[in-house]
Assembly symmetry: C2
Homo-oligomer: 301 residues x 2
């Protein structure tokens, strides 16, 4: 798995259940508009606001609706190892490209042995050579950082299984260090600003929330980089970064859902599960004003 992945939003119905049809439509639209893959059921997709059974159902419906499993990188990391095992096994059986795995994130200040132990137990209980694990480092949300020592131990213990990571720390030097440290390990940036510097450092691409609306811009960065058009790549990265900056004053998932509601004319996109909540009216107005100035040119939904 390489390239541009959206951290896919999960559209909801009137009772805040997942809207399977609208999610499949959104995924198809993303694949047609710059996405190489789809990281469904991650932070942006409100995965941790769904039960394990709901997450299984969401993924199954997506595959049944024709989204190729090889494009999917679902999040499967829960607090409880048995839950992570169940979701990971299910994803492997559906044939997904891999899974994006948070560490158990309730307990803080746990030692490296405990974190490595949790990932190890999941990998060994799933016990499937088809498994591909991408570690998900998001210390601001989890409070459980995945330092280099943990990553190296897991890579050397499970070669060919622990194959990459998503780094959402926002720490660019650490991101680039990670990409350079482990040859063959696929590092994805979880923040849009990191995409071009990461590609230059040999990284794999990006997995970001903003790619729900701006995957074309991220794809342009990758195309220019691969074509060795450095000036174009820098310009496209600046455009992508400007879009991200326009969201910086708002809760990200709510703001993205607002943009999709506006763009599609479908107000149902605004729904979020608590504890997340839609934008307040004043936020919506200032967000919309900011986006009119950006000339984002989102393709028709």
């Amino acid at each position: 798995m390489r390239g541009v992945l959206a951290a896919v939003l999960t559209p909801l119905g009137a009772d805040l259940e997942a809207d399977h049809r609208r999610l499949a439509d959104h995924c198809r639209w993303l694949l047609a508009n710059g996405c190489d893959g789809l990281s469904v059921l991650g932070t942006t997709g409100e995965a941790n606001s769904f039960s394990v059974a709901e997450r299984v159902e969401i993924l199954e419906n997506l595959v049944a609706a024709g989204i190729p499993p090889a494009t999917l990188l679902p999040g499967t990391g829960c607090c409880a190892v048995p839950d992570t095992v169940r979701l990971t096994r299910h994803a492997v059986e559906l044939g997904t490209a891999g899974v994006l795995m948070l560490p158990p994130f309730y307990y803080k200040n746990v030692g490296d042995d405990g974190i490595v132990g949790a990932f190890s137990r999941v990998i060994e209980e799933v016990g499937d050579t088809r498994l591909r694990v991408y570690l998900y480092h998001f210390p601001q949300m989890t409070g459980v950082p995945l330092g280099m020592a943990i990553i190296e131990r897991l890579c050397s213990r499970y070669p060919g299984i622990v194959v990459g990571m998503k780094d959402s720390s926002g720490d660019l030097p650490a991101l680039l260090d990670n990409a350079r440290a482990l040859p063959g390990f696929s590092v994805f940036s979880g923040f849009d600003d990191g995409l071009l510097p990461l590609l230059e450092a040999g990284g794999a691409g990006c997995i970001t929330a903003v790619c729900n609306v701006a995957s074309r811009l991220a794809a342009d960065v990758g195309l220019a980089f691969r074509g060795a058009r450095a000036a174009d790549a820098a310009r496209d990265q600046a455009r992508l970064s400007a879009v991200r900056a326009a969201f910086s004053a708002y809760p990200l998932a709510a703001a993205l859902k607002e943009i999709l509601a506006m763009h599609s004319g479908d107000g149902g996109w605004r729904r979020l599960r608590p504890p997340l909540a839609p934008l307040a009216r004043q936020q919506t107005e200032s967000l919309c004003a900011a986006f009119r100035g950006l000339d984002l040119r989102i393709p028709p939904l």
Copy 2:
């Protein structure tokens, strides 16, 4: 619910599944040795390392083993509202005294509306007048503080349902403010040092991990306080605080399980689910040395 509650440890079998028999024995021993109630399946009980189905099974086994439901205050707060609903409904149907409810704790920096919205949705979906909710404030672990504005909104929206809280912040002035602010609201200290000051401020008692081994000392504090023997109460509080201080250098659940393993001669007590891990040998030795100096006099198991 008032008085001394242990935040009950969950003993594990060889495959790290819950050991139902040993848990019931431990609960009986706690009730016979100073505990007025049992807060099972909380932070200390590794609740978030168990699946929802396992948590249901643990609680059912405990009641089937004869632990009176009216002594139980199980933790039920998960990241996903449907999980919290299921666990809370199950606890109500079993007749527990109430539930101890974490806010959804994956997403950080969410607004008060989102937190109030999540609790409200749980309470309304459970929809049972027998429900008694104790809010669980533990910002160091959750990253999601429950400020006074949230507590007041929930109390006024659900009078007789949202009836108390456990405050594990370690912030004594805030704990006492909470106890004084809402008449009839039952505030429990989640830290041993807070017990006597909280009783003096009209609070309900304590729910702590150290009560797995020192519930007699906590009960003595309460007895002396109710008997208006101020000097005795201060002395007993100092003893309890000294026990807590002896644990301060160690991961708490692991250290408590080590003490119970030593005291009972049953090494099985040492098991924890990842990401938690047993103490290293050197930690065990220094912990044991510290405890020999304390003269804790744990009653026979």
